[in-house]
């Protein structure tokens, strides 16, 4: 506790830095994954390829990715952009499958009725498929939020400051309170962003609440991340 009080500034600063690393990665991976997921859903043949490729990303050890990426991007190893790119890749690995499943799960009847009333292909995507995939996409986003915030700490090992710096520093100096603070701050940050996502979901998808009032069964699944 004493450590925390005398280092509140540091923790606050690192939290902001941590946010600045994870939020862009979260947003990017979401924005990139949705179209990929849609492709995987729309074109059956591409599904296996896309999902396997994205799953592959997950198999790359994070340290190795952080070091290897600059070879392709030309960035410096400890450039925050480098870390953001790596986090984005991991985010994509998590969310593409969920996105594909989200589009798969849309009620066929609704989809067909949207076609039947005369939506064009893109109109249908924008007006029906995207919002209807919303709840499942949100659940995927929530997983990405939590895992990205947690994974961003790894940057400390290669010199990108974040809450993870509290781990490496506390480790060297033998200050357990520092590490514990880092862990708790990371979790709080993840939960905070998660909460924001849930609130945003409520705001953007008011029908999910209306539906829940009547039948609670049709909510988004809790569990997303199980491979097929």
């Amino acid at each position: 506790m004493t450590w925390l009080w005398s280092n509140l500034d540091l923790v606050g600063e690192l939290s902001l830095v941590h946010l600045a690393l994870s939020v862009p990665a979260i947003i990017l991976s979401f924005v990139i994954s949705v179209p990929i997921g849609w492709l995987a859903h729309r074109y059956r043949w591409s599904r296996g390829v896309l999902l396997t490729l994205c799953g592959l990303l997950y198999a790359i050890p994070s340290l190795a990715l952080l070091i290897a990426l600059p070879v392709f991007t030309g960035l410096s190893v400890r450039s925050p952009v480098n870390l953001v790119v790596a986090l984005t890749l991991y985010g994509i690995a998590v969310i593409v499958r969920t996105a594909a499943d989200a589009f798969d799960a849309i009620d066929r009847d609704v989809r067909q009725s949207a076609t039947a009333v005369g939506y064009s292909a893109f109109g249908r995507f924008r007006a029906a498929e995207l919002p209807l995939a919303g709840p499942v996409l949100l659940s995927g986003l929530r997983v990405v939020i939590v895992s990205t915030v947690s994974l961003a700490t790894i940057g400390a090992v290669i010199g990108v400051p974040s809450l993870g710096s509290l781990f490496t520093d506390g480790f060297q100096r033998g200050i357990q309170a520092e590490i514990a603070t880092g862990i708790v701050a990371t979790i709080l940050l993840a939960l905070l962003l998660d909460l924001l996502a849930v609130l945003a979901g409520r705001l953007l998808m008011p029908w999910t609440r209306a539906g829940a009032a009547r039948r609670s069964s049709s909510q988004a699944p809790v569990v997303e991340e199980v491979l097929p």
Binding site: A59, L63, A64, I67, D109, V143, S147, V149, V226
Partner: protein, 247 residues
């Protein structure tokens, strides 16, 4: 790109295939560590997920635990336990178990949850006991999803077990750390490539297992889902009395 070539060269260098810390030894350590972690985590998460999936109670618990544990930064847990427990395998095993529990729990829960309630209801109405339902109906039908959870966990463990090298002289993380600190990027990438290959291999094996555990009768349905004809929507009535708990 020549970095990748360096990595491959490092792997192919016969000098790295013998003596202490040789590639086969590292791979063996990595696999063994991953296996131990997977077993421990499974022993914790699978029964818990099964109970929650079977009873339908505690869904919130699954969401909370898998969300909360996922938020736990592996590096932080590793260093914290490292300080407590010293060098060696204890700290990495603990932190990897924490990493593996969420997908396993989610998989087990989802596997049990995914079984058609009407099938379970029918089994109960026929007079199957709860354990007969769990073992004879839910487990075989949910197995593909459960194995999916194990697969996902295994993949993450193998990729992350590299961190074990932070506090223990074990696994394919060693060449990665060592290469990182000595600017021998060939060694580092070589280690990474090995980890990726290992992960792919294990993932492939699980993918196969996942196909194999799909019950025969269920596989037959896969082909016919072309059209949707929902029967009249109906409720499953009542929380049936389980054997024994008379009121």
């Amino acid at each position: 790109m020549n970095l990748v070539a360096d990595g491959i060269a490092w792997i192919l260098d016969p000098a790295n295939w013998q003596g202490a810390g040789s590639i086969p030894e590292r791979i063996g350590q990595h696999l063994l560590l991953s296996l131990v972690v997977l077993l421990i985590a499974s022993a914790i998460a699978l029964p818990a997920g099964a109970v929650i999936g079977h009873t339908g109670r505690g869904k919130q618990f699954v969401v909370m635990v898998s969300g909360g544990l996922r938020a736990l930064p592996t590096l932080g847990v590793l260093t914290l336990f490292g300080l407590w427990l010293g060098i060696g395998l204890a700290a990495p095993v603990i932190s990897l178990v924490i990493l593996a529990v969420p997908p396993l729990l989610a998989g087990a829960y989802a596997g049990f949850e995914a079984v058609d309630r009407r099938t379970i209801d029918a089994a109960r109405a026929m007079g199957m006991r709860e354990r007969e339902i769990v073992g004879g109906v839910e487990l075989p039908l949910g197995l593909p999803i459960i194995v999916g959870g194990v697969r996902s966990a295994a993949l993450q463990i193998i990729a992350t077990a590299t961190l074990a090298a932070y506090v223990a002289d074990v696994g394919l993380g060693r060449p990665i750390f060592q290469g990182l600190k000595t600017r021998d990027y060939g060694e580092m990438l070589g280690g990474s490539i090995l980890v990726i290959l290992l992960a792919l291999l294990v993932d492939g094996a699980f993918a196969l297992a996942q196909r194999l555990v799909v019950p025969a009768g269920v596989r037959a349905t896969r082909t016919r889902e072309l059209r949707s004809r929902p029967p009249r929507p109906r409720t499953v009535v009542g929380r049936p009395i389980h054997e024994g708990n008379r009121q």
